[in-house]
Symmetry: C2
Subunit: 468 residues, 2 copies
């Protein structure tokens, strides 16, 4: 089934953005300046993970890695960036000269995009001279936080929609233009069919969808004039918005135009409902379409949909083939951020951690091992040290960047989407409830990691809390 | 009081972005193609407004206009955009040729940034040939929705913080990089002192703040070594993060370093708390600082702050001079979108509207008039027709763009911030409760607008709903 203006062009070039070196918190640079003053150029490892589950979530979809790698490869301080930093009077000329030559030369181990992960699990680890690994913190969190959050939200919508097609309609209310682009990409990974976002279509080669708004209808003398005009311009792609004045009356006019199209050898592709009691209206509209011999016309619905509203209308027997899913998915309205952190876990080969009664801090570079049941379902994950060996556990993090160069092939978006779909099927339903609270997927620590963690805590307490 | 790495450089150039013509929903372009096919080049007016209040809000702060105007001035379809559109096989060559020469040639009437507005009130109206006014819809909503939402959220934080300084710390979890930039700008309008976002500092000339993270502390052999190193590199800007291992122990080490600094003629600027029971800890830390003769050192707090948590710790007597306010403000977590719409209100001089039982639709170009009490407080607003005259009412919308050229001088961010501050004081407290639900500010329709609306509804119902 195809709806709206759909097509699959080849992927365009990725977006080039200037000034990304300054997409950072000032403290990354003040810390860097101080490391520089103290000749601290030894290797550090930082670990990216989500601390806790937001309400109703018990899994996350990995997304955003491609953006991170592109950023790391391109990262440069331009002359205007250096001029600006100099104008702050915070930094010494020697440090600014260092930044002028700055390149990211480190390694990245990461979970592939599209795979599922769980709270506390490292999904990306950066190992590099500490200044390099520190400066990239802000961008890395920003990129992965947004896309993982949206891919997760989108996968929830797809879960309840079943075989019905979902289209990202969120651009107008995403939090900025960059978010609009990333939401289109991440929701596609989560299982959406495409987006209304034209730039995302161009940038990522995503299918784009769209026909008309209410303004189009009301700019014509009468609704049926608008329908006829659209059918004339887009005879292959006519989905008529029928609720500008009243849905049933609008549908009857759409039927009239559909019959006119049929006489010319074309076909009314469908109608769109955007307001009112969509479940009830869709049944009424389906009946009208069927009785008029337009049983092939699809019913497209939009208007404040998210996983909950999609589930509700489907349970009420709505006759909807496809949904436009907008704002609530595009900002992940019920969970508009993840509690994602990027923590130093080793410096100069030594394990480090922050002491915190409430937050689990795991020292040294790590690996996540995934164990499956005999039925090939996900059984549990074990977080271990990077060089742990776990019987029958699949190591999830792979090296994707070495010495600042991308060494893994970046999969096409369609492949990433397929990975997500496949992983989702391997996760038991009890971990993916839509309403209410699902169960927690079991995540354990390897014995070596557990012992190391305790030893480091003891050592830190001895050094830092023993009086004076 | 100054904290952290603060400075006020001159504003840099605004960001140049490519491809903004494609930052649009596909349907804007399919509608445009159909208008084009039907020789529909008459003038249309579209009206931008927020339909409803999100939870706990009863006013909004206008922000985002500068972005909109810059976009309209720069709007072009580049060759690569046209190539992409051609590749979709949706558009005819004549229409693509039209887009090649496309310039925005219309007028914009708008509420100045920083002023307060209310639900249903038009805050920006675009009058232009319909294709032009239609194509810009998506970007305009996106830009104003984000910044108005954040400026509003920020003003709520400022309301409870009183004279305490607030700094935007949200960049790592804003929804993308563009949002990070716009959040820094909008939160400054709402009353924040500055941001941690270096690119925002460069772009908008905002004060930037930041010193160190936990990773900095734990990369040194001992906490006190990290403190000493930082004080050595930034003797004018030493705010020490004291909670990496344990806040009281950390504070005592900070005091030690503060005394060492004093011997060299420097001063410990302050300490930062980022975890634990911040209200209680801050009192304990204040006592330690005072008893050590460091009564000038400020206490900076961060960690999941929003208006509610700021209010709570202040009510509990927290000794905090300044807050870093991050994620929850940066994504407006409790209200991550506004119900903002851009509706066609006239075409070819005729009033139009969408019929909807639940949504108020107001035909023709409009004006908003603000009436003050004798005490210069805001009494009520009246939405009227553009050419209404309301006794003693200040017309709020002013013409800022004529024939595609910006005709108003764009105020500096400091001025916009002052406007917001001033308006906020004129709004009675009963409309700005933080917890619970505040009262609704009175917004009326002018008699002429009310009569017109009824007449247009009657006419539309006659034309569209009278059966056929």
């Amino acid at each position: 089934m195809k709806v709206r203006g759909e097509f699959f062009p080849k992927a365009g070039p990725m977006i080039q953005e200037k000034n990304r070196a300054l997409v950072t918190d000032l403290y990354e640079l003040t810390m860097a300046a101080c490391y520089f003053d103290n000749d601290m150029f030894e290797e550090a490892t930082f670990s990216l993970f989500v601390r806790n589950y937001p309400p109703a979530r018990r899994y996350f979809v990995a997304a955003g890695l491609e953006d991170v790698l592109q950023y790391l490869v391109e990262l440069r301080f331009e002359q205007e960036d250096l001029d600006y930093l100099e104008s702050t009077e915070l930094f010494k000329p020697t440090f600014l000269s260092y930044l002028e030559k700055f390149r990211f030369s480190g390694d990245v181990d990461a979970l592939p995009e599209g795979r599922l992960f769980f709270a506390q699990e490292p999904i990306l680890e950066v190992t590099a001279p500490i200044i390099e690994a520190q400066i990239v913190e802000t961008f890395i969190i920003n990129a992965v936080n947004l896309q993982a959050m949206i891919a997760t939200k989108a996968s929830r919508c797809v879960q309840v929609a079943g075989t019905r097609k979902l289209v990202d309609f969120s651009l107008r209310r995403t939090q900025g233009v960059d978010a609009g682009l990333k939401v289109a990409r991440a929701s596609f990974i989560g299982g959406f069919a495409g987006t209304s976002n034209v730039l995302a279509g161009k940038t990522y080669g995503l299918p784009v969808f769209g026909t008309m708004a209410h303004s189009f209808i009301s700019s014509f003398e009468q609704e049926i004039d608008a329908f006829r005009a659209f059918a004339e311009t887009f005879p292959q792609n006519t989905v008529l918005l029928v609720d500008t004045y009243e849905t049933v009356a609008g549908t009857k006019k759409a039927v009239k135009v559909g019959k006119e199209m049929a006489k010319k050898g074309y076909r009314l592709k469908g109608v769109r409902l955007d307001s009112g009691d969509i479940a009830d209206l869709s049944k009424e509209v389906r009946l009208i379409l069927k009785e008029s011999g337009l049983q092939d016309a699809i019913i497209f619905a939009s208007g404040a949909f998210d996983e909950h509203k999609i589930q509700e209308v489907i349970e009420r027997g709505a006759e909807i083939d496809s949904f436009g899913v907008g704002t609530k998915m595009g900002v992940s309205a019920d969970a508009p951020y993840l509690d994602m952190a990027y923590k130093l876990v080793s410096y100069g080969g030594q394990p480090v951690l922050k002491l915190s009664p409430k937050k689990l801090s795991l020292p040294l570079a790590k690996q996540v091992f995934r164990l499956l049941t005999e039925q090939e379902k996900m059984e549990k994950d074990i977080i271990g040290l990077r060089d742990d060996r776990i019987q029958a556990g699949e190591p999830l993090l792979g090296k994707v960047m070495s010495h600042g160069r991308i060494i893994a092939s970046l999969p096409a978006l369609e492949e990433i989407k397929a990975v997500c779909h496949d992983e989702f099927l391997r996760l038991d339903d009890k971990y993916k409830t839509i309403g209410g609270e699902a169960e927690y997927f079991p995540v354990e620590l390897s014995p070596r990691l557990e012992r190391l963690r305790e030893a480091v805590i003891t050592e830190v307490e001895r050094k830092e809390l023993s009086g004076d």
